[in-house]
Symmetry: C2
């Protein structure tokens, strides 16, 4: 069966290309009878309008870019899978396709150009970014050029351009984690902070400290450490912390679950039992929490909901829906597993 174009379909149906187009696009100004007849010809001939023609005539692509910025190995990262699936499924639900790009390094000009070209060539209507810092120049450039960008973990209260869409974790989860450990009797708490270029890591840092202050807990320098948000970063940070501290904390509060998994390894290597000697708590809701031993207690976010919110509002911006909220903060839920132990309050503060 030969592939027909709209002119040929029009001829077969005995109408003009205009009418074929109206039927294809579901416009209302076509009588039911005409529509049914044209549809029949379209279906019989399996006519699908070519995207090239539609784009030239000014239609949108119906496609979202998904830019996953990940420097390390992500092939076996459950989280990468979850993000990819949530974004793709959310987009599909709203009738959009997803063009995926894994970006290794946003400091590399070739990488930058690869991303930029996707936008500038108008292959997509908007792009979703995951894994960028809160002040990524490329993102800022795209926004300033009027491109619609949806960003996970991004907040600039002073900038509220309608094409700067973001979704965020609530900002007080750090304090909630400290509160929880405190309620279990922990008074000696170590903190593994994240990457201070990321909005949420910074907020979590502030929020950890707020929790410590609220309970009058000692913020001991040797227990404070910084990691990036990765498992290997958490491992290195925890290892260094353990080797320098005179006294062990009773609990470690990690910036995120991946960092906590890294801490598990460091504690294991040092022969320290979890939660017997040291409790560990994460934040995120990583799929691996239930697989590690002991299962990791965490403040979990609903990632499905988070990405749906981001994708939905990004698409709303594309379609110029009015009153579209540019940002949203979503809540966590405590999931108690086996990694945190109740301890006797020995009165030390």
């Amino acid at each position: 069966m030969k592939k027909l174009n709209s002119t040929e379909i029009a001829k077969l149906a005995g109408v003009s290309r205009s009418t074929v187009s109206r039927v294809v696009n579901g416009y209302s100004n076509v009588p039911d009878e005409t529509r049914a007849h044209v549809m029949k010809v379209i279906n019989e001939n399996e006519y699908y309008p070519l995207i090239s023609g539609q784009l030239m005539a000014g239609k949108k692509t119906g496609t979202l870019g998904f830019f996953w910025v990940a420097s390390g190995k992500i092939a076996n990262d459950i989280q990468a899978s979850a993000f990819f699936v949530h974004i793709t499924e959310s987009a599909a639900e709203l009738g959009y396709l997803v063009l995926t790009c894994i970006v290794k390094n946003l400091s590399d000009s070739e990488n930058i150009d690869w991303v930029k070209r996707v936008f500038m060539q108008e292959r997509i209507d908007a792009g979703i970014f995951v894994g960028v810092s809160n002040n990524e120049p490329l993102v800022e450039e795209l926004i300033s050029k009027g491109k619609i960008v949806g960003i996970f973990d991004h907040f600039h209260p002073e900038r509220n351009e309608p094409n700067r869409i973001s979704v965020n974790f609530e900002t007080d989860t750090g304090k909630k984690a400290i509160d929880y450990l405190y309620s279990l009797g922990h008074r000696k708490i170590a903190i593994i902070d994240g990457n201070m270029n990321r909005f949420i890591s910074m907020k979590r840092h502030e929020s950890f400290l707020a929790g410590m202050l609220a309970h009058n807990l000692e913020i001991r320098a040797e227990w404070m450490c910084y990691a990036d948000v990765t498992e290997s970063g958490g491992y290195r940070a925890a290892k260094a912390m353990l080797s320098r501290c005179d006294e062990l904390p009773t609990a470690i509060c990690a910036n995120n679950d991946a960092t906590a998994f890294g801490a598990y390894t460091a504690l294991g290597e040092a022969g320290i039992s979890i939660p017997g000697q040291v409790s560990v708590i994460g934040i995120d809701g990583h799929g691996k929490c239930e697989l590690v031993s002991p299962a990791l207690t965490t403040f979990a976010f609903n990632h499905r909901e988070i990405f749906y919110s981001l994708v939905k509002r990004t698409i709303a911006a594309v379609e110029q829906k009015p009153d579209n909220p540019t940002t949203e903060f979503l809540p966590s839920t405590l999931v108690e597993r086996a990694s945190c132990l109740r301890v006797i309050d020995n009165g030390n503060t």
Copy 2:
């Protein structure tokens, strides 16, 4: 900065649009000096040719579709992540973008149309399919329409259309698994087969039996079971097998790792220790093998290599490279972990 088109760039550079196009496309028939001058104007104005115009003029999309057919929940599946990452990275390495589609159900006409439209609208140059049966009507239809399709786990020796590209696991891994268990002294081996609509599951089934026959092992009906290739399928199959058998096998040979994980759960619920009472072996090289307890011994495949081969040859078909092999079989490597125990051969065969 206003966005310019090729006419405006041509004017600024003092050449014709033809020459701008030649420079953009890197054609050789442009003197170095002209090329440098035009490039300068292009870069200064950040000119990127719109994909819409390029497509209309007959250029390819430079995009591959990735159709992941998965009926169940895949958000937390490590494998889904790995496949997605390998395909996207392989494509990027070869200069291609990837349009991803998660397909829930290839029996549903809406799902079918969603996939078909991506091809028919010419949004992509070719599509990669993962998770389809060896005789998927949609795939056959696309191939018969001349669409270039790359399929993971697909083999039809009698059909060798140049647009039917596939990559496969070697077909004798089942026998290797039996050989290995035999070498550990196992004589009472249970087999969990996969989905017989999948090429590799069928081959593995044949190959399991070949191994059993080669060693003169009894193929006991109560130890033979069928699952789909999922973890829950493996669980159900193993559970049913355990409840009906009078005597326990000393080892379970699973069609694939996910099925083996399901068997773990069934054995755990029945209070049967792995590998103390029953050894378990998988096939695949799933990222979770090292996370489960005991770590799963498996015949692992190099998924990166597998998907690179598929993507590379699919792209070669798009670019009409000569002598492009339409299929390839890749080997496994035994990865010994903790799930298989050496047993004393009690002489039973």
